[in-house]
C-alpha cells in the first residue's frame, strides 16, 4: 500500500515536473514570440521612418539651399572613367571659384541606363538641375516638360557667336535653345595602315568614294576557304543602333526628316545606300553587334566606321603606333558623317537658374573646351579654337572636319521610334528578308502610323 502511495507520489512528481517544464517552455516560447514580434514591429517602424527620411531627402534633391549655399545636381550621359574624372575636377575648380555653389555629380551609362535613371528621377519629382544628354533626348524631353529653355541666358552669352552652327542646331527646338554642346562624337572612318601596305595600297590615301571603299574592302579581306578571318570593312549586322547606315545615307545627300518635321525614309538616297552596301558587304564583313567589340578594335578588320571616342584606346596603344589612321568617311555625293552631340540642359525643376547657368557657362568656356580636347580627344565646339585644336593632334583636323560635316539624329518626338524602325529596316535588307523597296516603305508607313497616332 505504502509502495503504491510512493509510486503515485513519484508519478505525480514526474507529471508535475513535466507540466512545469512544459509551462516554462511555453513561457519561453511566448517570450520569444513577443521578442520576435517586438523586433519585427521595431524593424517595420524603423523601415517606415527610413523611407520617410529617404522620401523627404528626395523631395529636396532637386536644388537645395542650405543657409547660403546652393546645391545643384548634375547627371551626365556616359560613365567612362576619364570623362568622369574630368567632370569631377571641373566641378572642383568651379566650386573653388564660386564658394556659394555646390554641384553634386552623377552619371549613367549611355542608352537605357541613362534613360531609366532620368525617367525615374523625373517621375519621382527629383529631376536633376543640370543634365548632360544627347540629341535624341531634345524633342521628347522638351515635350515631356523635363527641360527648360535657356534662350534668355544664351542670348547674353559671350560665346553665342563662336559656337559652331551645326552644333548649336542640335540643342535648338521650336526656336528655343535648350542645350549647349560640351562634346561631339562624330563617326570617323578608321583604317589600318599596316594592312593597307600589306595589300599594296597607299596607307596615306584612304578611300574617298563609295567605289573606292568597295574595291579596297575586297582587296583587304582575308579568307580561309569560305571563312572570312579578317574583314575588309566591318559593318554591324545585329542589335545596337545602326548609325553606320546613316553615314552612307548622309554621304549620299539623304536625310531622315524634312523641313516640316516629317519622316523621309523611303527616298532614293536610302535605296542607293542599301544597293551599295548589298553589292559587297557579305563578301568583306565579319558580323558583329554593338554589344560586342568592333572587329576593327580586335584587329580583325582593316576598315570600319567608328565613334571617335571608342577608337581612342586604339590610337593611344603604343603597339599600334603609326598603324591606325582616321579619315572623313567615304561618300557618294556629299561629304558627311553621323555625329552624336552631348549637351548641357537645364532641368525643368531647377530653382536656381542663375547658378545653374553659371556652371554651364563655366563648362563651356574656351579653356574648358580646349582642356576636354587635350585630355579626352573630344573635338572642339567653338569656331575660334579650330586652328589651336588642329595643332594638338595630327588627327584633330579630321575630327574637326567630321564635326563640321556631322549630322545628328532627327530632333523630333518620333526619334526613338525611328531608331527602332531604322534598325529593323537595315537588318531586313541586309538579311534579304525584304527587298530594299519593301523595307523602306514598311519603315516609312510604320513611322507615319505612329505619328498619326
Amino acid at each position: 500500500m505504502e509502495t503504491r502511495l510512493e509510486m503515485k507520489k513519484v508519478r505525480e512528481g514526474i507529471v508535475n515536473g513535466i507540466k512545469i517544464k512544459f509551462a516554462n517552455r511555453l513561457m519561453s516560447i511566448l517570450m520569444l514570440k513577443k521578442i520576435l514580434s517586438a523586433s519585427l514591429a521595431t524593424i517595420m517602424i524603423l523601415a517606415i521612418l527610413a523611407s520617410l527620411v529617404v522620401f523627404s531627402s528626395c523631395s529636396i534633391i532637386s536644388g537645395s539651399n542650405d543657409k547660403d549655399e546652393v546645391t545643384l545636381n548634375l547627371l551626365r550621359l556616359g560613365n567612362d572613367m576619364p570623362e568622369a574624372e574630368y567632370w569631377k575636377s571641373l566641378i572642383k575648380e568651379f566650386e573653388s571659384k564660386n564658394p556659394g555653389i555646390k554641384i553634386n555629380y552623377d552619371d549613367a551609362a549611355i542608352g537605357e541606363p541613362m534613360e531609366t535613371k532620368l525617367n525615374t528621377l523625373f517621375a519621382g519629382g527629383a529631376g536633376p538641375d543640370i543634365i548632360g544628354h544627347g540629341i535624341i533626348s531634345v524633342a521628347n524631353r522638351v515635350e515631356a516638360g523635363h527641360y527648360q529653355p535657356i534662350t534668355d541666358y544664351f542670348s547674353k552669352w559671350e560665346g553665342k557667336d563662336d559656337i559652331m552652327e551645326s552644333v548649336l542646331a542640335n540643342g535648338t527646338y521650336k526656336g528655343e535653345v535648350y542645350g549647349l554642346a560640351y562634346s561631339t562624337t562624330p563617326f570617323v572612318f578608321a583604317y589600318r595602315k599596316d594592312m593597307f601596305k600589306e595589300a599594296g595600297l597607299d596607307p596615306e590615301k584612304p578611300p574617298k568614294t563609295w567605289d573606292e571603299l568597295r574595291d579596297y574592302a575586297r582587296l583587304l579581306t582575308v579568307k580561309e576557304e569560305d571563312r572570312i578571318t579578317r574583314a575588309g570593312f566591318a559593318f554591324p549586322m545585329a542589335a545596337g543602333n545602326f548609325v553606320e547606315f546613316d553615314v552612307f545615307v548622309f554621304g549620299n545627300g539623304g536625310r531622315f526628316v524634312d523641313d516640316n518635321g516629317m519622316p523621309t525614309i523611303n527616298t532614293p538616297e536610302k535605296a542607293e545606300a542599301f544597293e551599295f552596301l548589298k553589292s559587297f558587304i557579305d563578301e568583306v564583313n565579319i558580323p558583329y553587334n554593338s554589344n560586342e567589340v568592333n572587329p576593327f578594335i580586335k584587329g580583325n578588320a582593316a576598315m570600319t566606321l567608328i565613334n571617335n571616342v571608342a577608337l581612342r584606346p586604339m590610337l593611344e596603344d603604343p603597339d599600334l603606333k603609326d598603324k591606325v589612321a582616321i579619315a572623313v568617311p567615304p561618300y557618294n555625293k556629299i561629304k558627311a558623317t553621323f555625329s552624336g552631340c552631348n549637351m548641357l540642359f537645364m532641368g525643368s525643376g531647377c530653382k536656381y537658374r542663375d547658378e545653374a547657368w553659371k556652371f554651364m557657362e563655366f563648362a563651356l568656356t574656351k579653356e574648358q573646351v580646349l582642356e576636354r580636347s587635350k585630355s579626352l580627344n573630344i573635338p572642339i565646339t567653338r569656331k575660334s579654337l579650330v586652328e589651336e585644336f588642329a595643332k594638338l593632334d595630327p588627327y584633330n583636323s579630321v575630327r574637326a572636319e567630321c564635326v563640321e560635316v556631322g549630322i545628328g539624329m532627327p530632333r523630333t518626338t518620333w526619334s526613338p521610334r525611328f531608331q527602332t524602325l531604322r534598325n529593323e529596316m537595315v537588318q531586313k535588307v541586309l538579311y534579304s528578308k525584304l527587298s530594299i523597296e519593301e523595307a523602306l516603305n514598311e519603315a516609312q508607313n510604320k513611322l507615319m502610323e505612329e505619328i498619326g497616332q
Binding site: R141, A238, N289, E424
Partner: protein, 293 residues
C-alpha cells in the same frame, strides 16, 4: 481564452506584416498602377490621357509584339522540357554520399549561381563567328563555320541552349531535395520483388517526385516567360526580331520609346499569360494528384 487567441492573432499579423507591406508596396501597387496606365497614352511626361482599349487593340496588329509572343512561347517550350529531363538525369546521377558527387553537384550549380549578365557575355564570345570556340570546334571537325547569333534561324536556339546549360543546376537541386524525401524502404521492397534499377526509377522515383516536377514545371515556365537579360545582351532582339521576347518588347517600348501606356498594356497581357499558365498547371496538377493518390 478569447483574449489569448486575439493576442496570438495580433502577433501573427505583426509577423506577416513586413511581407504584406513589401508585397503591397512593390507588387500590388505597381500592378494596379500599371493596369491603370495601360488605358492611357502615358509617355513619362505630361501626357496621360485615357484612351480606352486602344493600346490593347493595337497589340493584336503589332507585328513586333506578336513575334515576341511567338518567340517567348518557343523559348519556353524548348527550355522547360529539356531542363526538366536533363535536370532529373543530373539529380539521379549525382544523388548519393561521396565527395566526387558533391563536387559534381557544385559543378552543376556554378552556372546557376553566376549572374546572367556574366554568363551572357561569356557565351557571346563563344558564339562569335570568327574567334568563338564553337566555330573553332566545327572547323576542327571539318564542318563549315556558322554565324550563330547572326543567323535568323539559329539565334533563338542559341539562347535556349545557353538557358538550359545555365539553369540545369537549379532543376537538379530541387530534384535532389525530392529524391531525399523518398523512403529507402520502397527501394528495398522493390529489390526484394526483383525489380531492375530502371523499373525502380520509373515505378518508384518518377511517380514520387511528380509534385516536385510540377513545381519545377511551373517555376521554369514563369522564368522562361520573363526572359530578358540574355536577349538584351546577346542579340538585342535580333536579327530581325528573331529573338525578341515579351519582356524585351516591354523594355524597348517603355524605356527606348517612352511609350509607358503601351508597354503597360503589354505587361498586363504578360501577367494574364503567366497567370493563365499557372492556373492551368495547378488544375492539371490537382487532377493528377486526385487520380494518383
Amino acid at each position: 481564452m478569447r483574449t489569448r487567441i486575439r493576442r496570438d492573432d495580433v502577433e501573427a499579423y505583426v509577423m506577416i506584416a513586413p511581407f504584406f507591406a513589401f508585397f503591397t508596396l512593390f507588387v500590388m501597387v505597381p500592378i494596379i498602377v500599371n493596369f491603370v496606365n495601360s488605358f492611357t497614352n502615358y509617355d513619362l511626361g505630361r501626357t496621360r490621357d485615357f484612351i480606352g482599349f486602344r493600346n490593347y487593340v493595337r497589340l493584336f496588329t503589332d507585328g513586333d509584339f506578336l513575334r515576341s509572343v511567338l518567340n517567348t512561347l518557343v523559348y519556353a517550350a524548348f527550355s522547360v522540357i529539356p531542363l526538366m529531363v536533363l535536370g532529373f538525369i543530373a539529380a539521379v546521377s549525382v544523388y548519393g554520399v561521396s565527395r566526387v558527387l558533391y563536387m559534381a553537384r557544385a559543378l552543376y550549380i556554378f552556372p546557376y549561381v553566376t549572374s546572367m549578365v556574366a554568363v551572357s557575355m561569356i557565351w557571346l564570345y563563344m558564339y562569335e563567328p570568327t574567334t568563338g570556340i564553337f566555330n573553332k570546334i566545327l572547323v576542327f571537325l571539318g564542318f563549315k563555320p556558322l554565324t550563330w547569333l547572326f543567323d535568323e534561324g539559329l539565334a533563338l536556339p542559341c539562347l535556349i541552349i545557353m538557358n538550359i546549360w545555365k539553369n540545369i543546376g537549379y532543376v537538379m537541386i530541387i530534384y535532389l531535395a525530392g529524391l531525399a524525401g523518398i523512403p529507402e524502404s520502397l527501394y528495398e521492397a522493390g529489390k526484394v520483388d526483383g525489380a531492375s534499377r530502371f523499373a525502380m526509377l520509373f515505378k518508384i522515383t518518377v511517380p514520387l517526385v511528380s509534385p516536385i516536377s510540377f513545381f519545377i514545371f511551373v517555376t521554369t515556365c514563369i522564368e522562361s516567360f520573363k526572359t530578358f537579360e540574355q536577349v538584351r545582351i546577346m542579340t538585342g532582339g535580333g536579327p530581325i526580331n528573331s529573338t525578341t521576347t515579351i519582356v524585351h518588347q516591354i523594355y524597348m517600348r517603355a524605356f527606348g520609346e517612352y511609350k509607358m501606356g503601351y508597354a503597360s498594356a503589354m505587361s498586363i497581357v504578360l501577367l494574364i499569360i503567366i497567370f493563365g499558365i499557372t492556373l492551368l498547371n495547378m488544375r492539371l496538377g490537382e487532377e493528377r494528384e486526385g487520380k494518383s493518390w
